[in-house]
């Protein structure tokens, strides 16, 4: 399986993502430089975390118009698999590839810590292998992660099972206390209607190295590998 990690000048989690895919999962991965247009025949493309263009104006607003993104959008609209994490999720929203928008956290502060997320929909490419573990401990690090979408779009998303993850307590309970940024219905990750474009605020690549004492993120990566190589 060939992975492609898009590198914007302000990305800083691209190296972390490539380390997990290459050194931990032993998979092929290429860097897709924001000024290029060739997607090098990747099967799975990732928009990593970071501050793409310094995140001025709105997080991800400027990155959305970089040369590489034009081709990434067409690739995804034709059904190509695309995962946006944190800043990557913000870029997906700005590009309209997934519904909704990511606003400033309700406590008006950047927030970096471990949180717990429950996997809501088990039959998508990135969640189908999370069966044995309903609740995953995955770190977040963002200042604009409050997911918002209007009510009737939310209703459609629920009918079409597009909610991937919700913030919850360690025991899996949904509560205001467990919601780090005020996201509507504690949403932490969603996908598009045809379930090939995924966005999530938590960083699975930061929970994949045994040296760091938490590998819950591997469930998500193994899900991705699981379907295609099975």
């Amino acid at each position: 399986m060939k992975f492609g990690v898009v590198v914007f000048p302000g990305s800083n989690c691209d190296a972390d993502m490539i380390y997990v895919i290459e050194s931990i999962l032993k998979q092929q991965v290429v860097r897709l430089w924001h000024k290029d247009t060739d997607l090098q025949g990747c099967d799975f493309i990732i928009l990593p975390g970071g501050f793409s263009y310094g995140d001025y104006l709105r997080s991800g607003a400027i990155a959305r118009f970089s040369p590489i993104m034009e081709n990434v959008i067409t690739y995804a609209e034709k059904g190509g698999f695309l995962l946006g994490i944190c800043n990557g999720f913000q870029i997906l929203c700005e590009a309209g590839l997934v519904p909704g928008v990511l606003l400033h956290n309700d406590n008006q502060k950047f927030n970096c810590k471990n949180v717990y997320i429950s996997t809501e929909n088990k039959n998508t490419l990135i969640t189908q292998n999370c069966l044995p573990k309903q609740v995953l401990k995955i770190p977040i690090a963002h200042g604009e992660g409050r997911y918002y979408v209007d009510d009737n779009t939310l209703k459609q998303m629920k009918q079409n099972d597009q909610i991937l993850f919700r913030y919850c307590s360690e025991a899996g309970q949904l509560s205001h206390l467990a919601n780090p940024n005020g996201s509507v219905e504690h949403i932490a990750g969603v996908c598009n209607a045809s379930k090939n474009i995924f966005g999530m605020m938590p960083h699975p690549e930061r929970a994949a190295d045994t040296n760091l004492g938490n590998t819950d993120g591997l469930y998500i990566f193994k899900s991705i590998l699981g379907l295609v190589t099975a």
């Binding site: 190296a15 501050f51 995140d55 502060k109 927030n111 690090a141 994949a208 040296n211």
Partner: protein
Amino acid sequence: TIPVGSPETVETAGKLGLLPEEYDKIVQILNRNPNFTELSIFSVMWSEHCSYKNSIVWLKTLPKDGARMLAKAGEENAGLVDIGDGLGCAFKIESHNHPSALEPYQGAATGVGGINRDIFTMGARPIAQLNSLRFGNIHTQRTQWLMRGVVKGIGDYGNAFGIPTVGGEVFFDDCYEMNPLVNAMSVGIVKKGETASAISYGVGNPVYIVGSATGKDGIHGATFASADITEDSAKDLPAVQVGDPFQEKLLLEASLEVIKTGAVIGMQDMGAAGITCSTSEMSAKGEHGMIIYLDKVPTRQTGMLPFEILLSESQERMLVVVKKGQEKVIEAIFEKWDLNCTIIGEVTATKRLEYYMNGELVADVPAHDLVLGGGAPVYHREYKEPAYFAESKKFSISDVQEPSDLKEVMNHLVKHPNIASKRWVYEQYDSMVGTVNMSTNMPAAAAVVNLKETDKALAISVDCNSRYVYADPEIGCAIAVAEASRNIICSGGIGLAITNCLNFGNPYNPEVYWQFVGAIQGMSKACKKFETPVTGGNVSFYNQSTIENKTEPVFPTPTIGMLGILDTKRTFTGMAFKQAGDSIYLIGASQNDINSSQYLFSYIGVKNSPAPYFDLDKEYETQMVLRELIEQELILSANDCSDGGLFIALLESAMIHDLGFDIKTDK
């Protein structure tokens, strides 16, 4: 040829912070009177901030040598230590106190930017940051305004730049009310042989300025750092420096790429005194000169005068000297990263700096006479023991009645801002980017950072209890070094070397200088004992505040940043109790001593007491015993007793996994 511009007088020199005898020395060096541009150059280069003129005499007495030293203190922008596996580690700590006192957000943010540039200008990629913050009383609006701004500034800059903040400390005392301390530390890794040096040689080699455009930011920033902060200083506020973390990220990636091409002769970041400092220091070190065309410098504002371009402290800029003929190689890389990259002059053999503006020579000065270790003045300051020192000796523990309600005492300590959790601060920092922070899921006494693709890890600690240093500078500073080492030992590492950020009051005040000298002597003893040489750092004087014309210095604060190594990750040791039933040991003899403790200072209210009991040899032995226990994998966790004493240390270890502890005392 004589530069344009009328010769300047000793009065103007005074306005620029130069003493009359310093003006005479300039006239002697130039054997003519300097014009305004030249006088401005000397004023920033001979400011306390750049020349260390009132501290270099004592800094030289610090131990600098060690088997692992790749670059000795003062030689490069940051210390460089050999950590094995063909890798070098560059690390340094610096202060941005005065800018943060007036504009906390940008002051702190540009402090983070500056310290990281010192690291990557040597070719090292920063992998971890720490910071040491000191504020006044947490209940005042001023402190809350300063703290919100400083923490958000550090967070926004560091998070966007993409380097994890893995450790640090926050301390509150009324003495810092007007003049907070913001010390930022950065640690980077470089393959041996791929380092860059801050040097310039090779006649005809092009000199580039790269990165942000130049504006009127922080003019006289360098002398500004050495100026007093008085109650109404907000009025005469010079321009504030604004940080652009996105530009810094581009500069980091581009700089590391150009160094690898081998086309770079030397590189230095633009810190205080901007172009003046980088051109003169690099030239003096390479014993060459430069011709610089100031009109070629890309400026952000129109009509800037020569001295403004020379002194501007606009952020995110570097000076790069490139091998003749390699211009295209360099320019392509900066083009890739969308950065300005402009030739502004070339290297000459004259050992002098000739600055031109639109074809006119505006300044002609010798490089050597400008720089620290060259012609910059060196002063011996007198020092005198302050009255409070003898006064503090009068205190004895027998003066204090043991309180009846110990629970209330513990409640006071647990809630005290110096001891309570700092989560409100560090959760605003990205501590996990780079996926190297091993302390996230296993907290340890020091910050432990994984060295990917090796079996090693780094252990880093920033420490200074400035109340101890106030009580006795020599003992207090030795304790700061010992505490940093203790934290590293507790986490399974061993200390290699230190950097220091020396925050003191006015050096012309003999009682302040007594504190400075004592701290240096204590630091020397401890560094020799722990075999952790000093790789460099920063001196920040004039940390004080003047209210109703009474000047009070802050506590003497020699912040110590210690770098340690875990030769194998096997010895990584957390500080959390693991499970019920494990036995708890206290290593080292306890003393009947509450001197300068948080309990005595804030609960009992005795403000003036001696420094705590401290025996350097016993401290070293105790640490080596613990190291042996960890080497032989005989213990599950270790934590050091510091602020708040034994009870707080036990509480910290218990709370992580919601466990308790049952302690028997001799009563």
